[in-house]
Amino acid sequence: MTDRRAEKDEPWKDPAAQPYIAIENVTKRFGEFVAVNSVSLKIYKGEIFCLLGGSGCGKTTLLRMLAGFEKPTAGKILIDGQDMADIPPYERPVNMMFQSYALFPHMSVYDNVAFGLEQEKLPRTQIKQRVGEILGIVHMGDYAKRKPHQLSGGQRQRVALARALVKRPKLLLLDEPLGALDRKLREHTQFELINIQEQLGVTFVVVTHDQEEAMTLASRIGVMNRGEIAQIGTPRQIYEFPATRFVADFIGSVNLFDGQLVEDEPDHVRVRCADLPAPVYVDHGLSAPPNAQLWVAIRPEKITLERAQPGATDNWARGVIKEIAYMGDMSIYMIRLDSGRQVRVTQANIVRKAGEAFSWEDQVYLAWDASSPVVGTG
């Protein structure tokens, strides 16, 4: 989905490309509390950039600084090369879609959407035409006369989107855009958002705590932790090559082991983990001092279960199945290793009959490819 976009254009790889938004060493303190700590970011035109993190990580504060509701304590924010320091929210080329949608309860859908255009003092006929156009794009044309409280959650979300887009902003900020929708509606809306973004060519900055949302929407993700950016990358980079232990643990589910570097060659490393009977062999080099303490992350879906002991000397473990959760398309196994450590493994349910399937208390061997584990020091 997002790979298609990434292949098409990756402006962040081009050193000559001009970023549309440049956040330079921005810090925001509320009294003693540091909400955002020296964050630097470059976001390019036409991107959907997701700020992902748990609650209180500073992502919303960063978004509010882009909108102009908060002033940075230190640092600079440039939008299209212009310093935003002294520009109030009502003069920024930026619109925001609020988490609560913030639709004006005393105005109809039409008046809500027209509000922004009325501030520009456009002629009535032009306002009418543009409101009609944008309501058509979000499929809300038939509801123009309704009041917000007469709409369902999904409809309100679309009105909020229309209201934020009708001024044709160059940058749209979205605060947890899908948070209030139920699962079916979310999936549908995610793709609709991407379509609208491509259709109008707006740059999106999305704040979310939901990694699934970030994965499907984003061209790039910035993972935030305690006011700092932990990693910036495409969804695939973030998932497959987490830069720090925090990112590995935060994105998706993962089995994390602590280990010690025992062999460090340009083309591979070997790590010995106390919880695993065999060393972990990884098929790429690492720049770390000898005997460094490392973390090793292995994704549950990259582990295979076998009944016989694997022939290789590296990359295996033995355990007993303690829990099985059948999810339909796949099953989740909780396996207790000989060391007592619990490990999570997911297997696609490729065969339909249950004959060969693993069962509770079965002894199994776990194996994985040399390309699967991620190791790091941070």
Partner: protein
């Protein structure tokens, strides 16, 4: 606590409660139709009669006092609504600033201050002001109005503040984000949304001023006798039946106001619910 379904206890308590509240008022209304000029003696053969009402309508001082009270109450309510709304806005929306706690304390103080104290300190203030700057010259309608605004605005500010606290600040941010400057945000978003609170603050201030006696006594001067002051001075000379008639009219006016506003609100609520149901029925 669980009571048997058909317990006689609850209805009895209810009946006594209501009797305690309303029997005095009903008996007052009843006696306003009495023909006798002795308040407690029912003159059966010649009653009911409207003669006290007729007498009341020919009583110039009472009518003047009533008209004066209405004027003071209206000016007071309007002034209190404006000032109280400003204070409520500042306290609810301007974040932390120096002197915020002080402002909040001094606006809520009149709510808990004994009226005698408020009245006395107001009087001292007006006397001192007159000596220093010659204004207000003497005590009268102006001083009563100022004194009433002082304590009414606390009520308005509390009501407005609680309304502002319950409404989503992001509405104002959204308006600003869409290009509206702060004055426009206030006019198109904040004001319409807190208007019901301001209105109820206005009504409350009106009634507070309408029946205030203690503070008015302190700051009134010659020629500024309000209705409660007239009634009080009449009662001191012995209750005459035309006070019953006057009180009945006041009760009827207030009751009508309460009933009308209740009906209007109920209708709005019903319409709103109907609309919500319609929306749900035609939803996705």
């Amino acid at each position: 606590m669980s009571l048997p379904r058909r317990s006689i206890f609850v209805p009895t308590v209810l009946a006594f409660g209501f009797a305690f509240l309303y029997v005095p008022i009903l008996s007052m209304m009843f006696f306003s139709l009495n023909n006798s000029s002795l308040v407690t003696v029912w003159d059966g053969p010649n009653s009911p009669t409207l003669k006290w009402y007729v007498k009341l309508l020919n009583n110039r001082p009472i009518l003047d006092a009533a008209w004066l009270s209405i004027k003071i109450a209206a000016v007071n309510a309007t002034g209190a609504a404006v000032l109280g709304t400003l204070v409520g806005l500042v306290l609810a929306r301007f974040g932390r600033f120096r002197g915020r706690t002080l402002l909040s304390a001094i606006t809520t103080a009149p709510l808990v201050m004994p009226e005698v104290i408020t009245g006395l300190s107001m009087l001292l203030l007006f006397v001192a002001l007159e000596q220093w700057i010659g204004w207000p010259s003497g005590r009268g309608v102006t001083t009563i109005t100022i004194a009433h605004i002082t304590f009414s605005m606390s009520y308005v500010s509390v009501i407005v503040q609680s309304r502002l606290a319950s409404f989503d600040e992001s509405l104002e941010e959204a308006a600003m984000d869409l290009g509206a400057r702060p004055p426009r945000v206030f006019r198109s978003i904040t004001l319409p949304l807190i208007f019901p609170a301001i209105l109820s603050g206005w009504l409350l201030s009106f009634t507070l001023s309408w029946d205030d006696l203690v503070i008015s006594q302190f700051v009134a001067g010659p020629g500024s006798t309000t209705l409660p002051m007239v009634i009080f001075s009449k009662v001191r000379l012995g209750v005459s039946p035309d006070v019953n008639a006057l009180a009945t009219i006041m009760v009827l006016i207030v009751a009508t106001g309460v009933v009308v506003s209740a009906v209007v609100m109920q209708r709005q609520e019903r319409r709103r619910q109907r609309e919500v149901q319609m929306a749900l029925a035609s939803g996705e």
